[in-house]
Amino acid sequence: MAEVRITGLHKRYGAFHAVRGIDLHIRDGEFTVLVGPSGCGKSTLLRTIAGLEESSQGTIEIGGEVVNDFRPRDRDVAMVFQDYALYPHMSVAKNIGFGLKARKMPKPEVEMRVAEAARMLGITPLLGRFPRQLSGGQRQRVAIGRAIVRNPRIFLFDEPLSNLDAQLRDEMRGEIKRLHQDIATTMIYVTHDQIEAMTLADRIVLMRDGLIEQQGAPLELFERPASTFVAGFLGSPRMSFLPGTLALEGSTAAIRLADALLPLAPGRGLQDVADGQKVLLGLRPEHLTRAHTATPAQGTFRYEATIDLLQPTGSRSYATFRLAGAPVMAELQAHDVSRPGEKLAIDINMKRASIFDATTERAL
């Protein structure tokens, strides 16, 4: 149990600047997910917390104590690796008990703890086996067992699910979530998968090129992305971005996309904007529905769309059409749409739409 506070952290590999100034406060018991595209420095940040990499600059505090100069062993953290990193030459029981043995814990206690951890994880029958005799999911549990048997101050995960097949991945994701609910230890979890981030996190830290792009609760990032990068990264299928200009008239605001004028909901706080400013309108597929009423509801914009491309998934269909020349995807009920080329009235929920400055790509 411990909070983590990272201040002004940099990591350089020679001339390469992998982490470029991170400030992060992770509260005690929080499940934090570091997410971002591959190569953005997530693993480097996590490994620096574990002590496997030395920071080039900045401090790391765990439980109120600066640990920069601590060896990994002295930080009392546990880590689950992408390839699980089980010791191939040791049985499952030895694997789980290895950290305790390194602590010179008396043998009977080690055995008791190992047995208890194995019981909780449902891997008691596997204790005598070797890692190569285990399936992917079983290895994953042993790796977690190796962590919980010590009850460390922090759990670190580096893409622990990426080596599993899709079905098992969903299953194990649920188990990790339950693990956190049960023991409520601070957990820091690295992934490049936005679904894992959204489902697991108390807080998402979205990274890009060694910097934090935005952090906050999953829904906050999802609904109010700070930039097109965040908006594009979270959510699947991706948000559509439509280039247009801002049209301000007195107290009303609208966005002009070619010849269409999309009024914004009144009361939407746009600050420091100018008439004619180039913007990007961000629409998520679920912000668009088929019109079922005679007139569009308050805050929605109705558009006569011709469907270009249809991707049915069963209950829903993803329909792509062009709005002012740019492709937009809508998530429709399967029965609302039947074939490409169909003409449909689509309602765009402008209250949930995001607006970004076209040059800075930051949210307005």
Binding site: D74, R150, T185
Partner: protein, 334 residues
């Protein structure tokens, strides 16, 4: 440590394990925190901090003591008089080097080293490549043949020299008899005494021992060529020679260079077989560089002259190492 890697891993067949259903996890509660491991003693802390240097220390110190120090020592020796036949250790400047450079035997031995190693390595290369080409494809008995072909690599050059002496030396060796029978006319070659046959003998012994070296490395290179390249060529109806020139040779290039360089650097040390087979003779006809320096140092006891000569030889080798090996092994940081 080997025990852990032993049979236990395979105690149960894998297939029966993977379908063991995973039980759902029970509610997980926290165990008592084990905390951080015991603090390290001051000594252990230091050891841990300087771990990487402690690990290299024994090897580096040994090499320094038994390779670098002797080299420096011999550099000193080569500038002074260190001769069991001349008393005193006076500084003599470049005199020792002059003696070597102007010694006709020295020049002859360097020339012979170049010729012998050049010819041996060339034959080994061609023969090794041919054998490797026949061994690329799988055929019945390949494993056994492979095991036989590599045997010479594990034999002391002294014994190789001895074995060929037994075959070649008159009157005991059966070689002349066999040749007489095969050619239908009397063959009486003095394999270990007559020019040029003694060179042939030395080359045969070297070829016998080291062709497998070429063969093994080239075979590894050949096997690493993606088979689909050959399959594509086969479909295109390209003939064997064209395949060899267009596919095999370019892919094998780096491996050939590596095999040739490594082999050549060893070949120029040639000593053991000469010591056993000809003893440098008759006269100085089979003196190689190593053999020459050995005689100067250990039978004539002109130690300074020998060390001066070995320094020249060393510089010669170092140039090859610096130029070729470094490039071949691509010594990159991790």
């Amino acid at each position: 440590m080997l025990r852990a890697l032993g049979s236990q891993h395979l105690a149960e067949p894998l297939s029966s394990l993977l379908d063991t259903p995973m039980q759902p996890t029970a509610t997980i509660h926290r165990l008592k925190a084990a905390g951080a491991p015991p603090r390290l003693s001051a000594f252990a802390q230091r050891a841990d901090r300087h771990f990487k240097w402690l690990l290299v220390a024994p090897a580096v110190l040994l090499i320094l003591a038994l390779s670098i120090y002797p080299l420096l020592f011999s550099l000193v020796v080569s500038f002074i008089n260190y001769d069991f036949q001349v008393p005193g250790h006076a500084f003599v400047g470049l005199k020792n080097f002059e003696r070597v450079v102007f010694d006709p035997v020295a020049r002859w031995s360097l020339l012979l080293t170049a010729w012998l190693s050049g010819i041996s390595v060339a034959i080994e290369f061609v023969l090794g490549l041919l054998v490797a080409l026949t061994m690329v494809r799988s055929f019945p008995g390949r494993g056994v043949i492979m095991s036989i072909l590599i045997v010479p690599l594990f034999i002391s050059p002294v014994i190789v020299g001895q074995a060929w002496t037994l075959l070649l030396q008159r009157p005991f060796g059966p070689t002349n008899y066999i040749l007489t029978q095969l050619l239908g006319q009397e063959v009486t070659i003095g394999w270990m005494t007559e020019r040029p046959w003694l060179y042939v003998s030395l080359i045969i012994a070297d070829v016998w021992q080291w062709t497998p070296f070429m063969f093994v490395i080239l075979l590894a290179g050949l096997t690493a060529i993606p088979p689909n390249l050959y399959e594509a060529a086969e479909l295109d109806g390209v003939n064997a020679w064209q395949v060899f020139w267009a596919i095999t040779l370019p892919h094998l290039g780096p491996m050939m260079l590596l095999a040739l360089t490594f082999r050549l650097l060893d070949a120029i040390r040639m000593f053991d077989t000469i010591f056993i087979m000809t003893g440098g003779g008759p006269g100085t006809q089979t003196y190689t560089a190593s053999y020459y320096l050995y005689t100067v140092g250990f039978t004539q006891f002109h130690l300074s002259q020998a060390t001066a000569g070995s320094w020249l030889f060393l510089i010669f080798t170092a140039l090859i190492v610096a130029l070729l090996v470094r490039r071949l092994l691509k010594v990159d940081p991790v």
